[in-house]
Amino acid sequence: MNWTILPILLPLLTALLALFWGKPSRARRVVVACSAGVQLVLALALVTRAYHGETFLLNLGNWTAPFGIVVVIDLLAAVMIALCTFVALVAVLFGYVELSSRIEHPLRLPLTQLLVTGINLAFCTGDLFNLFVAFEIMLIASYALLTLEADDWDVKQAFPYLAINLMGSTLFLCAAGLAYTLFGTLNFADIALRSAEMADDPRVLALGLLLMVVFGIKAGVFPLYYWLPNSYPTLPIPLAAIYSGMLTKVGVYVLLRVFGTVLPHSLDLVHQLLAWLAGATMIFGVLGAISRNFIRGILSYHILSQIGFMVLAIGLFTPLSFAACIFYIIHHIIVKSSLFLIGGVGACLNRTDNLDRMGNLWRHAPWLGVLFLCQALSLAGLPPLSGFWGKYAIIVVGLEKGAYVLVGACIVASILTLFSMLKIWNSAFWNSDEEREVCLWDLRWVRMSWVVAIMVVVSLGIGLGAELIFRVAQEAATRALDQEGYARIVLGYVGKGATPAP
């Protein structure tokens, strides 16, 4: 049996099971958590096997590649699936300790699993139209989750999210139509082969620009990020962790995939534009973060600022910068999700995450402070934490390419990141105003901290074992940039995991 379909099928079946089960109960929670654990183990197995040179390929319904639908899991996709399942597992566990099953919303677990289905499908699809389908599954689940437990204020905040993403989807469909008229195919590998011959065609450039706008919207690149920073803070904490970790990174992954694997590598204009937009995203994102005074708001803006680093790495467009981008994605997903969860623990202790009313956390819960420091300094990029290595690699490539202004923007954004993290630290942790009450009697925070600790340990592991992770990232980048190799595997049936043609 071919395992390639399982990362999509398992969460989908889990979602259906949870939906039929209906009423939230402890048994349902255990089943969903077990399924999430199995998904993680499976994804890790995929990563190990992909690292040793395998590429998993499945022709759905036994239709051969350029005509049928293919599911391709190469190293990059496997790494992303592993990250997604890990974040989903931790978020699900965090949700369990945060709320008792008596007051859990019955649709939250099914929709979370459906969201994971969409995200995983986006990672392993092999053609442009299925990517659109994956985005729709992901977005529809995310619209529902965003407004599931919302009040009228939250619904208002969610509206830009809905409107801008709908516009993005429409543009995506237009781009897919354009791609089909240009190349006569939507299969990634087939497009890669055919577009190589027409690299100078201005229509390919137009397609590149259009796709950049579409995935820029999904990733939250300047000036199209308005939907993100106001809608994410309205989410419940565990969901915010999944959203902040995964959704924008799907956009970054697709940018990597489309510009690295699918479109010709000679679209310098698009790459340059991407790099400059990334610079602007970094600066404006971090300025927005400084302007906010509640933890979730600050962190939401930081997503944008960090997206800037990743997209800059794509825009610089060398094999090393792609590796840096993949490393940065790995680092960022874990750190950002865990920071949201730490913010949630803090909000549980202080009964608010408004920095004007938080305080005393360092005195009463020092270990939470340690967790926060590890992740905040990692986000700002202090060695030897994981953020440093990603930023270091990006800056090295930037200096090699002579993009001094953008390197300067990186450094300024990092310093401002540190500043806004210090803002949280000073108000929530260091502040010793006696009036700021800490609800230590609410014992949920201990278990919540333990769940977060899992993520922090993984994140520290990434920082200390950076060489191994970077080697994986380099391998993934090399293979993602190898258009001919990708096409040979998908179209030529020479990959080890390939199903033989009928």
């Binding site: 099928l9 939906l19 008596r102 408004n354």
Partner: protein, 186 residues
């Protein structure tokens, strides 16, 4: 708002519901090799149900046809997935389909059947379920009824949920909702 009851409309709808559904069945069955299929058949059936709800009123219709659209859609999805999974049992890839040509079937003669029909039935159920759910929620909200009936409320709504647009000033709502207190910068 319900308009005045029209006798002509009601009688026509009683006829049309059957016609539309027979047509939907026709579309579903011919779907594999000719224009048609689960999606379009599902839309046709959904249209017939919407017509029925216009003639009878949403509540009356719910009394007649007791089904939960969400479970119908989920059941359809499950049917489709299981159809996709069956070929795995015989070592074929996911979603592979098989067709059989049967000779000398009583009454029907030559029949061409295949597993794509099962998949189409799944799609059909998903489309009927999702469309009905959306239309009925909208219809109920325009008529001032509750969006979910009691049993749906047990399944799909949160025990701690507050109604949207409650006439409570924001500050009071926050006090009552301390666990997930909101902080809005602007």
């Amino acid at each position: 708002m319900n308009g005045p009851r029209s006798y002509i409309f009601n009688s026509m709808v009683r006829l049309a519901v059957f016609l539309v559904n027979v047509f939907a069945l026709y579309l579903l069955l011919r779907g594999h090799n000719a224009p048609g299929g689960g999606f379009i058949a599902g839309l046709a059936t959904a249209i017939s149900l919407i017509l029925l709800s216009l003639a009878l009123g949403v509540q009356e219709m719910h009394r007649l046809l007791r089904f939960d659209p969400v479970l119908l859609a989920a059941g359809g999805l499950l049917t489709a997935i299981v159809t996709g999974l069956l070929p795995l049992l015989v070592g074929k890839p996911f979603l592979e389909h098989f067709n059989f040509h049967l000779h000398d079937v009583p009454l029907l003669g030559e029949v061409h059947v295949g597993t794509p029909l099962l998949f189409d039935v799944g799609v059909y159920l998903v489309v009927v379920g999702v469309t009905c759910k959306m239309i009925f929620v909208f219809a109920k909200s325009t008529q001032g009824l509750r969006a979910l009936v009691a049993e749906e409320e047990r399944r799909y709504s949160s025990p701690v949920e507050q109604p949207i647009e409650a006439d409570v000033p924001r500050a009071e709502a926050e006090v009552g909702n301390q666990g997930k207190e909101k902080t809005h910068a602007d």
